[in-house]
């Protein structure tokens, strides 16, 4: 598979009066052409910020640096303003959790799709209108001519997210970044939106980077997954493998605390994860999960969080797990 995106050693920090706080602390991530990669983590783990680095869209007071951020082999960090504009508008499409705040409430949604086409693709008014209608139809909006004339508030949440997707894919991007696209939606609508994204991915061979806090959504939609905690990727691999055989104590604990419909009537309490997710300002060196980890060792405070390969394509940042697996493979237990 051809590599589309490669991020290495990404650091993002927020400046404040007394210094700066690192919220992403050396992230590595790869996305190949046409695949769906999930980025899963709890709030504050740095997943949203990390995916915004791909289009260098940083909030005020945040600075990013990286060993490399490459899109189709081109260095994103070195792009000029004009090049960055072209990169944002043509290469990458992005959708967010709350599509309502992304729209201009005073303009008809169809006009907003057409506007994107005029500005980013350079179509004239009539061509843009025609293409916008086709796009609305392609995201399964029925009666697109009528919806074209609707204002954002007249659409349901699921419908708004469909229009948002239409705008995001309007320039035929090679990567769609979907940041919690279904979090505000009902489960039934959620399933439809995920199916739509999957259908569009197959048809246009674009890659999808799906950011979510919900492992269920990730498991359903993705080929590969990267699990984030405290600004690091702690585990990455094929989604089935990560779910079935988590190779980082955090992933394991997270999967075990996910409530499931199957447990109805079983009345077994889940252990959960003790303590709180880390505050980036208070994180020291070493593994950010060490404080809550049941298998913590003294050496965990010095771990550099680089990813160790356990099987082909399955990586963990936990040397303790990696060691124990290595020991099993050679038949010698430490």
């Amino acid at each position: 598979m051809t590599q589309l995106l490669r991020i290495e050693g990404l650091r993002i920090s927020f400046a404040h009066r007394t210094g700066s706080t690192d919220v992403v602390r050396g992230l590595d991530l790869e996305v190949n052409q046409g695949e769906t990669v999930g980025l899963v983590g709890e709030s504050g783990s740095g997943k949203s910020l990390s995916c915004r680095s791909i289009i260098r869209l940083m909030p005020p007071h945040a600075t990013m640096s990286a060993t490399r951020v490459e899109f189709e082999g081109r260095d994103v960090l070195g792009l000029s303003r004009t090049e960055l504009r072209a990169h944002r508008s043509r290469n990458v499409g992005m959708i967010f959790q709350d599509p309502f705040s992304c729209f201009d409430p005073t303009k008809r949604v169809g006009e907003q799709v057409a506007e994107t086409l005029r500005v980013n693709v350079g179509l004239d008014r009539d061509a843009a209108r025609e293409r916008a209608l086709a796009l609305l139809a392609s995201v399964d909006i029925d009666r697109p001519e009528q919806r074209f004339r609707a204002y954002p508030h007249e659409l349901s949440g699921g419908m708004r997210q469909r229009v948002m997707i239409a705008i995001a894919i309007s320039a035929g991007p090679k990567l769609l970044i979907a940041d919690e696209p279904t979090t505000a939606l009902d489960v039934t609508t959620q399933a439809q939106i995920l199916a739509l994204i999957e259908q569009l991915r197959r048809e246009s061979e674009m890659a999808v980077l799906l950011v979510s806090h919900d492992f269920g959504v990730i498991a359903q939609a993705c080929d590969r997954v990267a699990v984030m905690y405290g600004g690091h990727v702690v585990e990455a691999g094929p989604v089935d493998e990560v779910c079935a055989q988590p190779r980082h104590p955090y992933t394991r604990a997270l999967l075990e605390s996910i409530p499931s419909v199957e447990s109805a009537g079983r009345r077994v309490r889940r252990a959960g994860i003790p303590g709180q997710p880390p505050n980036p300002a208070e994180l020291g060196p070493g593994c950010p999960f060490a404080e809550r980890c049941a298998h913590v060792r003294a050496s965990c405070r010095e771990v550099d969080m680089s990813l160790i390969r356990v099987t082909e394509g399955h990586l963990t940042a936990c040397p303790v797990v990696a060691d124990s697996l290595g020991a099993v493979a050679t038949g010698v237990r430490p």
């Binding site: 949440g157 009902d186 489960v187 990730i218 779910c243 409530p259 419909v261 109805a264 889940r270």
Partner: protein, 279 residues
Amino acid sequence: MTGESMLQVRDLTKRFVLRRSVGEWVRRQPGETHAAVNAVSFDLARGEILGLAGGSGSGKTTLARMLIRLVEPDDGSIVLGGLDVRALRGHDLREVRRRMQMVFQDPYSSLNPRLSVGAAIHEAGRVHHQPGSEDAGPFVARLLDLVRLPAAAAARHPRELSGGQRQRVAVARALAVGPEVLIADEAVSALDVSIQTQLLNLFLDLRDELGLAMLFVAHQLSVIAEVCDRVAIMHLGEIVEIGPTAEVFHSPQAPYTRTLLAAHPRPMALADATDPEPT
């Protein structure tokens, strides 16, 4: 674990009047009505946790709010321990609201940002003349202990706490008035999975320790599956199915319940128990 029925709800209905069109307004016609909750009936027993699930707009929250008359019902009856809740006014209504406490999704907007945690909890107990509330220190300490927060949390303000801790404070504040029924409206929906589990366990502990009855409103079926004894599935203002959680989820009868369950995403079951665990 569950005892006698303490809350009986029968044919509870709430209609909202839709905005009238100009034509209707000119002709002085009444606006069309929409039944947000339509003839809903259920019972809640002491020590029972009843789940209320459904999509957005299904009427879950309206139903929950009607129980303590934050929303006035149009029809039907609510009986709490023999008292007709719909007929009450003034002091008696306040007493019913003490006995049925609500915990909301966003504790940040339901807690006074200017009050310390201790003051917020004590205030609730004092207003309702709860035994022990004359002495703020021990009163607050007991409640914080009940929700597994350290006694030192009393001096903190809501903004200094994490989402999970704030929700515990909201629960402590509800418990400060000695309720018999806890209505949790999407109380864990905004929380991260690892914190969600801690809160769910807390609700189970409180039921066991205090014999509370709970109406647990949530859109996540999996959360309901973990804590509820029975579940009611709402759709378009009606309860389309109600029964023991295991029965409803393992052999759903209503078509809508099946749709909901089918759409519910689930990570693969954790397999491979023989996996080498780091020691």
